[in-house]
């Protein structure tokens, strides 16, 4: 049993979300995309807070929305739990009452609802805050309450809207791994919306990358990380992405320049190059690398123990080097160096 959704929502004359989503029970699917891509609209439709303009949503054989047939099950009657972006815990209710709310709304008596809510609070590790008002909780604690509140009613579909974006870096790391555990235990289907590739990669079994209301790429995290198909995805997973035409092992790049790869292909291809695969030299190198070309430094950006260098040339390229290399090569904006890249470090795949 599973989720089958053909989603089409017209938000304005200029923006339409179109999304086909199929997910099995126990599976976590992430909708990944920049702000304004339509991800949250997708979640609202699944939750029943927004009706489809076209299409159909079916969950475990139950039709939740069918625009053509005029069927629409409102949010309060869907077997769905949702964690909102800033959690939206009811500020006037205690943590326990927040978690018990869904059970009470579904008709469970107060005593049973509270006991069950209490168990869930223990399960997410914040039993001691049962009587606290949400306003006094930290971000991480509030996130756990929101998760318990969404899961306590045993939903068949769990929707997470940017579940970690309100957290600071340290808390985020901790809550992310906890959330992963809960998602693994959760028997239903999970749909997660995020703009953070790391959240998506860690939490999801499958990714749908959405740009301007359209799915531009989908696959497992590994597939997406290894073979990005748009500049946005390439930027997310941190690789250089080029489009070009391949004849044998030579790829003529659309942006100018030629790269030699180790796999022979013919036709339109994508070429992905990791920033760590490129090395920089003061003078033209004469080693084994098949690709060398002159480049000019446009900018430098410190990233912890490495420095990312933006270079212009044929082609433009992002290269990660050590701070020592920055000093050795005297890399400053405007300085000229040589880039070299082994053919075996280049991945090419059909466009």
């Amino acid at each position: 049993m599973s989720l089958h959704a053909q989603i089409a929502v017209e938000r304005s004359s200029r923006f339409t979300l179109e999304l086909d989503l199929v997910a099995e029970r126990g599976e976590t699917v992430a909708l990944l995309g920049p702000n304004g891509a339509g991800k949250s609209t997708g979640l609202r439709v699944l939750a029943g807070l927004l009706a489809l303009s076209k299409g159909r949503i079916e969950l475990d054989g139950l039709v939740l929305d069918d625009a053509a047939a005029g069927t629409f099950v409102p949010a309060e009657r869907r077997p769905v739990g949702m964690v909102f972006q800033d959690y939206l815990l009811f500020p006037h209710l205690s943590v326990l009452e927040n978690v018990a709310f869904g059970l009470r709304a579904r008709g469970m008596d107060r005593h049973d609802a509270r006991r069950r809510a209490g168990k869930w609070l223990e399960r997410v590790g914040i039993g001691q805050y049962a009587r606290t008002k949400p306003g006094r909780l930290s971000g991480g604690q509030a996130q756990r309450v929101a998760l318990a509140r969404a899961l306590v009613t045993d939903p068949r579909l769990l929707l997470l809207d940017e579940p970690l974006s309100a957290l600071d870096a340290t808390t985020r790391l901790e809550v992310r791994s906890e959330l992963r555990h809960h998602l693994v235990d959760f028997p239903g289907t999970t749909v997660l919306v995020t703009h953070d590739p790391l959240d998506a990669m860690v939490l999801a079994d499958r990714l749908l990358v959405i740009e301007d209301g359209q799915v531009v790429q989908q696959g497992t995290p590994t597939e997406i990380a290894h073979a990005p198909r748009t500049d946005y995805v390439a930027q997310l997973v941190g690789v250089n992405l080029y489009r070009g035409t391949s004849r044998g092992t030579a790829v003529e790049l659309a942006c100018g320049g030629t790269l030699t790869t180790s796999t022979a292909r013919d036709g339109d291809v994508f070429v992905a190059v990791a920033p760590t695969a490129v090395t920089l030299h003061r003078d033209q190198p004469h080693g084994s690398a098949r690709n060398t070309w002159p480049v000019q430094v446009r900018g430098l950006e410190g990233r912890g123990t490495t420095t990312r260098v933006q270079l212009t040339g044929r082609p433009d390229v992002l290269v990660d080097v050590t701070p020592a290399a920055v000093a050795d090569l005297d890399l400053t904006p405007g300085s000229s160096v040589w880039a070299s890249l082994k053919a075996t470090e280049i991945r090419s795949y059909p466009a």
Partner: protein, 283 residues
Amino acid sequence: MTATRPPASITAASPRRRRRGRRTGLPVALVLPAVLGLAFLVVPLLGLVIAAPWDTLFARITSPTVLTALQLSLTTASLATVVCLVLGIPLAWLLARSDLPGSSFLRALVTVPLVLPPVVGGVALLLVLGRNGLIGQYLEAWFGFSLPFTTAGVVVAEAFVAMPFLVIAVDGALRGADRRFEDAAATLGASRWLIFRRVTLPMVAPGIAAGAVLCWARALGEFGATITFAGNFPGETQTMPLAVYLALETDPEAAIVLSLVLLAVSILVLASMRDKWISPNAA
């Protein structure tokens, strides 16, 4: 007008007295009317306090006439507020939440009693609810029940004039409230009525409280609609403002005392609002 004294504008603009990056010179054209305006609002109230017969004050306040009028005023204003809450909160919800095409027109309609002279309101109420009125004749014929010139009539007149205050306050609070909390409640399985009761209402409670206080204060001070619709019978329809007006002709000192009581109640209301409801993070 001595030649040696520098003009005031130069003194005000001297660098030593100027705070960093901010103009401190206040234009006389604004300050003068501002001070006059303040005096205009405060001096009459001070006059009331100064003219009060302080030595006989306590005896007068506890006199049966004053106590009766005060009790009637407090009772009717409170009842009117209850009526306004029961009818006004749902009305405000309708204005704020439903996507009715004419909701802005409805909102304008609701505010009419706010700008309408209360006497006109009283006349309108008489025409509709009076013994021969559109609805009043049936009340009389079917239930033997007549509103004008009764205590219930006072409540109706006060509610008519005061309800817009409540509706506008609650409407504003509802439109300012984050509707995503209602979405969250819906995903938790709550019906619209349950959402209204358990989420919306508690979250706009400060707005309701502020609206209720304004509404109550307006009802307490109501004069025009009350005297037109309910008359001026001591113990039955003679509220404090009516008693003040009447006393002014026969016993000016009593009028002052009654006015002082109303002033004290107003200040009390204002103070209670400041403490509890005006601060944004009220518990």
